[in-house]
């Protein structure tokens, strides 16, 4: 077929370009992923005592993971396009990590020396990152599917960031079931779980994000 003919075919009855193509794929996937992680976390691990919601502890975790989900979702939306402005959303992602690291460091510094290790390791350090990772897997699969239908030209970066988004959604669900109270614990182990999900995304990105 001649290219002229092909162009005529593509243009024929093409109509206007679809609006909000990126958001229409990413937002439902993120909401479903969050729903899944919250439901599984509550059903399998069980909710934290209701009284705990009177304290800032679960809110701190939800705010951290929620802020990362927002920033990583914003950056994913950029990486889903062939060209986009990425600087501000990249800074937003880094800022979320920086703020939590500062908070965790401050809490660590304020804790008496003898209690620091117990505080940091809690009673669930060995299961927290893995739980976050497992709870994030459906979001990761959904996020990669969403990106695959869009136009990411940097598959590794796109996989990494959508993995962080999935990790954050998994962490939000996990926060509903996690009774650890120390910001230092959250800054270390939650972050590790989310970064694991990001690493898995970065590994999968070049393999599945072909279009």
């Amino acid at each position: 077929m001649k290219t002229e003919t092909w162009i005529d075919m593509l243009a024929q009855g093409a109509g206007p370009a679809p609006h909000g193509q990126v958001m229409r794929r990413l937002v439902p996937v993120a909401l479903l992923g969050l729903l899944f992680s919250a439901a599984v976390s509550l059903a399998v691990l069980g909710p934290v005592p209701a009284a705990m919601f009177q304290t800032p502890v679960p809110w701190m975790k939800l705010a951290y993971a929620g802020a990362l989900a927002g920033a990583a979702g914003w950056l994913s939306a950029g990486l889903a396009r062939p060209v986009a402005r990425l600087r501000t959303p990249t800074h937003a992602v880094l800022a979320v990590f920086a703020v939590m690291t500062l908070l965790g460091g401050l809490a660590w510094w304020l804790t008496p020396t003898d209690d620091r290790l117990v505080d940091l390791m809690g009673h669930s350090w060995s299961t927290c990152p893995v739980s976050v990772l497992l709870l994030s897997l459906p979001s990761l699969a959904g996020g990669l599917w969403a990106l695959r239908g869009l136009a990411p030209t940097r598959p590794r970066a796109a996989g990494l960031v959508v993995g962080l988004l999935a990790g954050a959604l998994g962490a939000m669900g996990y926060a509903l079931a996690c009774v650890e109270t120390s910001p230092a614990f959250v800054a270390l182990w939650y972050t590790l779980g989310m970064v694991l999900s990001g690493a898995l995304g970065a590994w999968l990105g070049p393999r599945v994000l072909r279009w």
């Binding site: 075919m9 243009a11 009855g13 370009a17 193509q21 062939p82």
Partner: protein
């Protein structure tokens, strides 16, 4: 210098037409795709000197990708950058399929694209016959594409002719084109 001036011309020439095309102006879309095809041909010829026979195939494949993904264009950014980012992605994908990652290096960076554009005239025939590939699509998709894209019926007319709803026709056309992209990639 000459090269960047040419890119600038491509951008300034294309942008207003492209923006009209995005709002649904079909004549502008056709014109924009023609300008883009010429630019793609130059871009790809220069980078595919070892595969000259595949250039036109990749031009057509890139045009299809641009069409399917035109919702990902952000009007605040240059349309030429968007077009070339997709072309580059398609080129990398082609090299990977051919197992020739080393060939990605732009050996001829000191040449302007213009030096390789002139030959070939306007009659750009691809090796691969997209018409034949269209025939291998599922019935509903092939019919929707034939009616709206080849016979030139409106979506409403195609809907009347087939009894399918208008949105079903649109979905079949889009799915068919996506499927075609998968077939093209082999």
């Amino acid at each position: 210098m000459v090269d960047s001036a040419k890119h600038f011309d491509f951008e300034t020439g294309l942008k207003p037409i492209w923006l009209r095309a995005q709002t649904g102006d079909e004549a502008a879309y056709r014109e924009a795709l023609r300008l883009i095809a010429n630019r793609l041909r130059a871009y790809l010829r220069r980078r595919m000197q070892s595969l000259p026979d595949d250039v036109e195939d990749l031009v057509q494949e890139t045009l299809l990708a641009l069409h399917l993904q035109r919702g990902t264009y952000d009007p605040a950014l240059p349309v030429s950058a968007w077009v070339l980012a997709v072309a580059r992605h398609k080129l990398i994908d082609l090299w990977r399929r051919r197992g020739r990652q080393d060939a990605l290096h732009d050996v001829l960076d000191d040449f302007g694209d213009g030096q390789l554009v002139a030959e070939g005239g306007n009659d750009h025939e691809a090796r691969r016959d997209l018409g034949r590939l269209l025939d291998s699509l599922p019935e509903a998709q092939r019919l929707a594409i034939r009616l709206t894209k080849v016979e030139g019926l409106s979506v409403a007319e195609a809907s009347q002719r087939t009894g399918a709803s208008e949105s079903a026709i649109k979905v079949q056309v889009h799915r068919g084109l996506k499927r075609l992209m998968a077939l093209v990639k082999g």
